[in-house]
Each structure stands twice: as structure tokens, then as C-alpha cells.
Symmetry: C2
Subunit: 217 residues, 2 copies
Amino acid sequence: MKVNVVKNILDANDRIAMENRQRFDNNNVFTINLMSSPGAGKTTLLEEMGKGLGDNFRVGVIEGDIQSSLDAERVAKAGLAAVQIETAGACHLDANMIQSCLGNFDLAELDLMVVENVGNLVCPAEFNTGEHAKVMLLSVTEGDDKPLKYPLMFRESKVLLISKTDLLPYVRCDVELIKKTAKGLNPEIKIIEISSYTGQGLEEWHGWLTEQITRER
Amino acid sequence: MKVNVVKNILDANDRIAMENRQRFDNNNVFTINLMSSPGAGKTTLLEEMGKGLGDNFRVGVIEGDIQSSLDAERVAKAGLAAVQIETAGACHLDANMIQSCLGNFDLAELDLMVVENVGNLVCPAEFNTGEHAKVMLLSVTEGDDKPLKYPLMFRESKVLLISKTDLLPYVRCDVELIKKTAKGLNPEIKIIEISSYTGQGLEEWHGWLTEQITRER
């Protein structure tokens, strides 16, 4: 008797992520999934991205937080189209949460979508939301041992933004060690040192985004 | 016909946590569950606790990390009895992980046990490990909006240590706002501002621990 073997069934999250990705592609929207520890500077960076990219591109933001809409309010004030997801306890965003709120955007009008994930260096890296690229921030105040302690997010990310470099004179953090261990985990990872306070690295970061958006069109 | 109703069955984690708690109590070991975001300074604080408490008390440490034994090595170097748990991806410690490693300690020889949880401001707060008190660190570099965005850990903690206060001149963070919102979530929470670099607040923190240890004996 022949037994049918069904292979490569996507799990529910991956199936929905693929649908999301299709919608982004159909509308020429480049999408990033922005991840970090709490307080590494994701929302402040988004405010800067509003200033740096807002004249040339239309940017949408999906804010993920356990509770409150503080971040969506900040980002909306910076002129970006923002929708808040309150995860009600969940420590990450998944593809279904993203799909549920895409109806709040006119995707045909957007060039870039940023999914700002829940502040958490662990679980968000495990879930595909349909994005084109995962991007992570690591603040220099968190210390240079983080790539070895939280390797998955470094492996999954296309870009590592080493943030708050303006604080380097006041903390014990070896940026070269971060770069070396991150590259050891993920040789292809692009690394940019940034400071949203001084503006360091923002031009390079906005340049990388511009390249991706233009390619997506 | 009479239907038997069985009430208050503990879930598996709570049952094992209760067993852990019993073992701590039988051995007069005061136990804290130390939680924070990645890089808020838990391990550096433990090194300082080794210096500040090591002459008077015997301290054990259970280190929880996704991967690596970096923290256990640091803490052991500081003279504390340390055991590392690698959670293999899990983003928090639970009661069963703690129970599995208690055999590595001679509990009768200890006064204080510190469970250093995985760096994560979300999930660790949901799991009782059998500790007497949950204690959280919040670094001033993480920003003053964190109590509203991650309320559960603030609600569950007996003590909030506001860490890295030496960086206050260089960051935008309103410590009074943190205190006010934390007290709003948890009116009983004890708050101490600390810096492991300058030593600020460490005497008060060690004093609080000494009081609890002495009471447990």
C-alpha cells in the first residue's frame, strides 16, 4: 500500500507571513521588522527616520507593545502613519497580528513599512511577520557580551544598528568586540553605528533603506 | 447525584515552585528572583553584592541565559557559588529549571540565593520559581516610559532597583516619573536608585537584603 507523504507544510505563522509578504510586494512596500531590548532606541530612531526620509518616502509604522499606545503617539507626531497593536501580554509580534492591522493602511500609498516589535531580545526573532528584512538595534549601554548570549536575533537580522554611541565615553563597551562576535554568528550582517542624539550613522542607515525601497519599486 | 468539585489545583509550575520554596525555607535560605532587560546590570550588581555581602553571608547564584556561561564565570570569579542554566532558547526561567539545579548547591550552607533570570522585561515576570521576592532592575538608559509599557514586572516585584544612575547626566530620563508610575502600578514597591560604578544606593540595597536574610533565619 502506498503511503502519501505530504511535505513542507508551512506552520500557521509562516503561511500568514507569506500572505503578508505578498501584499507588501504587490504594493511595492519595503518592510522591515525592527527588534531590540526595551529602551534601545527604536522609537527615537523612527522619529529621526521621519525627518530623514519623510520628504521622499511615505512611511507606515506598526507599533507593537504589551500595553499603552505611547509609541504610536510619538511616531504619529513625527508625521508617520502609525497603528498600535497592544499584544495583551504577548512578548512578540506574529504574522497574524500584522495581518489583522494591515487594513488600517492604504498600502498602495506607502513606500516603507516599519514593524516596531515588542522590546525583547529573545522571542521576536523566532517569528516571521512577512517582512523583507529583520533589523536589530543593540545599545552600547547593554554591553558587548550580548551577541554570545542572544545569538538568534543576530543570526536572523540583515542589519545590526549599534545604537547610543554618544554614551560610549561613559560605559564599558567594546564596539569592535560586538562587531566581531556578531560577524562570527552572521558573516553577512551589515553593521552601522548610530546615535539618534548626535546623528552619527543616520545618513548611512537612511541610504541603505533608500536603496532597498528603490529596488522594491 | 453529588458532583465533586476540585478547587485550587495548582498548575505544574506553581506546584514545583511551592516545593522549591519549601526547600529554601527548610534551609533558611532567602531567595530572590532578579529580573530586567538585557544589559541593565544584573551581573555587575551581583559582583558588587559579592564584595558587599560576601564577608557576612554565603551567597548562591543560579544564572539563566539562553546560551553561554559567561555570567556564571563572572559571578564565580567574584567569589559566589554559581550554577549556569542554559535555557536553549527559552526566554525565562521556570520552577522546574530551578528545581533541576538545586542539587548542585549545599543549601544548608547558604544564606542567600539569587536567581538571575534571562534578560527579558516580559516573560520572566509570569513564572514563580519559588523565590521569596521578585526584584527588578530598570536602567535609566531604557527610558522613563517602561512602567506603562511593561506593567506586569513592576506589579510583581517587591523591589525596583533603578540602575546606572551615573548615566543620568547623559540621557533623557525622568527618574521621578519612573517612581510615580511604578508606585501607581504597585503602591508597596520599594524603590532604590543604584549605580554599580559609583556605589550609589548599594548600602541601602545590601541593608534590605541583610534584613530579609536575618528574618529568614
